[in-house]
Symmetry: C2
Subunit: 480 residues, 2 copies
């Protein structure tokens, strides 16, 4: 993938045509086989398969650095020639974060995946940004430790930081915001910033770690991350049960949060989603609103929590309890949840999936889903719902034929309706997928012009030439 | 305190003399009895009794706003006339955060202490910045909820945000960074920024909430905060035990973190501190390195955790276990820890206390304390150590006579030695007390010039006239 004949990009490929002198300096800076003008590779980097944003935003060149120093060199060149630079991890993000909207450099971080330091006693690890979380957890397993975030399987740690991702375990362990001790980033001026020490807490100055987490490559390129780790729990219970209504299921999520126990997962799937699960897995689960839980701790405590949750669920009309006892059964049951995205595709095999990502205060979750479902049920498109219910975050997977303009417009209408419903209920347009180009239009309604002016000022002062992933997060009228 | 005859400040009181026109506009904007030129009140605001930074940094005027709109009006006036403005809560901070280094306005937020919204189902509350955490917890108690941070008893929520504070419960619940959903702040340009929605998580743009938390009034004035709440635990165990060495005690802290249980408190007191505790409370605890724990959860789980911790402690030579059984005994035992600062004063009743606040990776805690203790033992000054051991954070309370220059210099030398030891071990100069003026000199060693340049750029762009708490956090060479 990273080799191939070097070809200068055809004219018109980049919005800002990159100068020949830039190309020459780049080629003399980075080894030949890690500077790629090959069309196929550029296409891969400009059209992330995972995202439903199918627009032409192909980079002029793909660069594969192997060190922070190389990232510095590339950033310095980009600044010198005013060439946009967009970091690229596994491109599992959904909102078009890696699209090179104005051409330029796609800087692919996946060759930087070393584990630089493991501190078992401190329960932290220092990794390069291109390290995948799945691979990291394989590495950590013999130490009895793990990194407790679980987005799409391919995701890299750098991308997870950039998009402030989370996943089903966030209800217990928090998001990327809560699990990074420190990071190293190359800023637009070429400076390498180390945001914090390895201490578990600090009150030393502005929180640059959190500023970079969620900045989606618009402020700098993350090259190294120090992650907090967790102990692999001694025991766990995995269970599922069904409810007559979404409201009942959401009330159980509230009940669990109020019980004082810390479930590690509280996931809600609607009846359409369960239908997909059944189709994809040859199962016959009852097609009704369903909660899936995971409860962890010592053996006795996992058992005690299971009893508490069962009681709460029964108070809200739960039935059809299924408990996974053996490790294999547990893996099997969570696999169903993990692969729900693919299972949804069995509901309409020719379709693409547009995924929404709203998050509302927990007390509004049932109302938000119920309001949405009225519109979804009335739509000609198929859509199913899957929710990190403990956090009030849910995804609607809307299936549409991308070649049918009416279907595309209808999918967009439904997605837009979901966002406005969530914002009107005091929520956010994105719980964990980020802004990219997909949610930029909602930022002003959600945060107000004052907050966006602050973001725009920060962006403009730290990246005065707007070379760092231009066109993402902040509506253009608030920058520069 | 807030009434009193209005007197124009004597000449020379402020470094930047405030113009008469500013005073007149201020008086026509804010009600007379909430604009105070009275010397006593200005002295109170310029010489925080709690801090060991005894320098003359008295404001020209103290203003007591009652609404965000009034804060906006005062900030707009300060900007118009280039008058510094320094937010003031309970002034329980230690590093001189509230000192008006260049004179100007001390904006006292303590009249703004309304509870604006309580969302029991969502487990969050919206409060004005002047609300005290102790008072808030009294209010929340009937709902079975609490806000899980416990700094000095007087501290206000706004001040806690500004200083990114934590306390003994941080090992379980995190710091202020982790417990704020959103906040409202008046920026230097007069804009009111709402940083986020009430959703429990969001990936919508730069993390302005976290940018403001720890910014110590240098970017804006926090007027309203949305806090995450926790369930009051059903049961708890409080225990203490002693060890032959600090290393043994610190190893237990590591062992607890690795056990996978979540102790809610793991506090370490050295033998000198226990001596103070004995003197102050008429007790006869063994004067040896001591750990105090709190374990929470269901009754069964609190018991199970106690057994686990006891086993870990015994593996590291623990003895003299004391368990508190009744609620009264528990309160009594924690009172000893909470009042340690005052107990330390019994060791030298004429002294002031200089408090250090370093935090290191957990594996370095024993080494850091042991290295420090060699110097402390050799010093003519008395000093004791108290540590949030689960987080690797510890305070040395150094007793000195402030009128004795040699003692003051020796206290400063010890404090400086502690910081350098911690930084050399990969730690931070401040785990929870913040930078203020006290730690500014260590920022470059800890974070490097590159990170400080980023902080300076943010400060300069958001507060171009440097009116917001000037002279704090960022060394001047990195701003403007």
């Amino acid at each position: 993938m990273i080799s191939g004949e070097l070809t200068v990009p055809p004219p018109g490929q980049s919005v800002v045509k990159i100068p020949q002198a830039f190309i020459e300096e780049l080629q003399s800076t980075i080894e030949e086989d890690r500077v790629n003008f090959d069309k196929d590779d550029r296409d891969v980097h400009g059209r992330p398969w995972y995202s439903y944003h199918k627009i032409d935003a192909v980079p002029d060149v793909v660069v594969y650095p192997v060190s922070t120093e190389e990232v510095v060199a590339v950033v310095n060149l980009c600044r010198k020639y005013k060439v946009p630079i967009v970091p690229y991890g596994a491109a599992t993000s959904l909102e078009g974060h890696t699209l090179t909207m104005k051409g330029g450099v796609s800087i692919d971080m996946t060759l930087m995946k070393k584990i630089k330091e493991l501190h078992v006693e401190d329960m932290d690890v220092v990794v390069e940004a291109g390290m995948g979380w799945v691979e990291l957890n394989e590495y950590l397993k013999p130490e009895g430790l793990f990194f407790p975030l679980d987005p799409g399987p391919g995701a890299t740690v750098g991308g997870m930081c950039a998009c402030r991702c989370s996943g089903s375990l966030a209800v217990r362990y928090g998001t990327m915001r809560d699990n990074v001790l420190s990071l190293k980033a190359v800023m637009a001026n070429g400076d390498v910033v180390k945001t914090a020490s390895r201490a578990r807490k600090s009150a030393a100055g502005y929180d640059l770690t959190r500023l970079m987490i969620g900045s989606e490559g618009t402020l700098g390129i993350i090259t190294e991350v120090t992650l907090r780790l967790q102990k692999i729990p001694e025991a766990s219970t995995v269970a599922m049960c069904t409810f007559p209504s979404i409201k009942d299921a959401a009330d159980v999520a509230i009940g669990i949060m109020h019980s004082g126990i810390q479930a590690s997962r509280v996931e809600l799937l609607d009846e359409v989603m369960i239908k997909g699960v059944n189709l994809a897995n040859g199962k016959s689960y009852k097609e009704a609103p369903t909660l899936m839980f995971e409860l962890i701790g010592t053996e006795a405590y996992a058992r005690e929590q299971t009893e508490i949750v069962k009681k709460i669920a029964e108070q809200h009309n739960a039935s059809d309890f299924i408990y996974s006892e053996t490790p294999e059964e547990k893996v099997q049951l969570w696999k169903i949840r993990k692969e729900a995205f693919w299972a949804a595709q069995t509901l309409n095999s020719v379709a693409e999936i547009m995924t929404t990502d709203v998050c509302v205060p927990l007390s509004k979750l049932a109302q938000c889903i119920s309001q949405a479902k009225i519109e979804l049920d009335a739509s000609p498109l198929t859509a199913c719902i899957i929710s990190h219910a403990g956090d009030g975050n849910f995804h609607t997977l809307i299936m549409f034929n991308p070649d049918d303009k009416a279907e595309l417009l209808e999918a967009k209408r439904l997605s837009d309706m979901m966002v406005h419903t969530a914002l009107d209920l005091g929520g956010t347009c994105t719980g964990e997928h980020g802004v990219g180009i997909g949610k930029i239009q909602y930022m002003e309604k959600e945060l107000g012009p004052e907050a966006l002016k602050v973001m725009g000022s920060i962006k403009s002062t730290l990246d005065p030439d707007n070379i760092m992933n231009p066109g993402k997060i902040i509506p253009p009228q608030f920058c520069y």
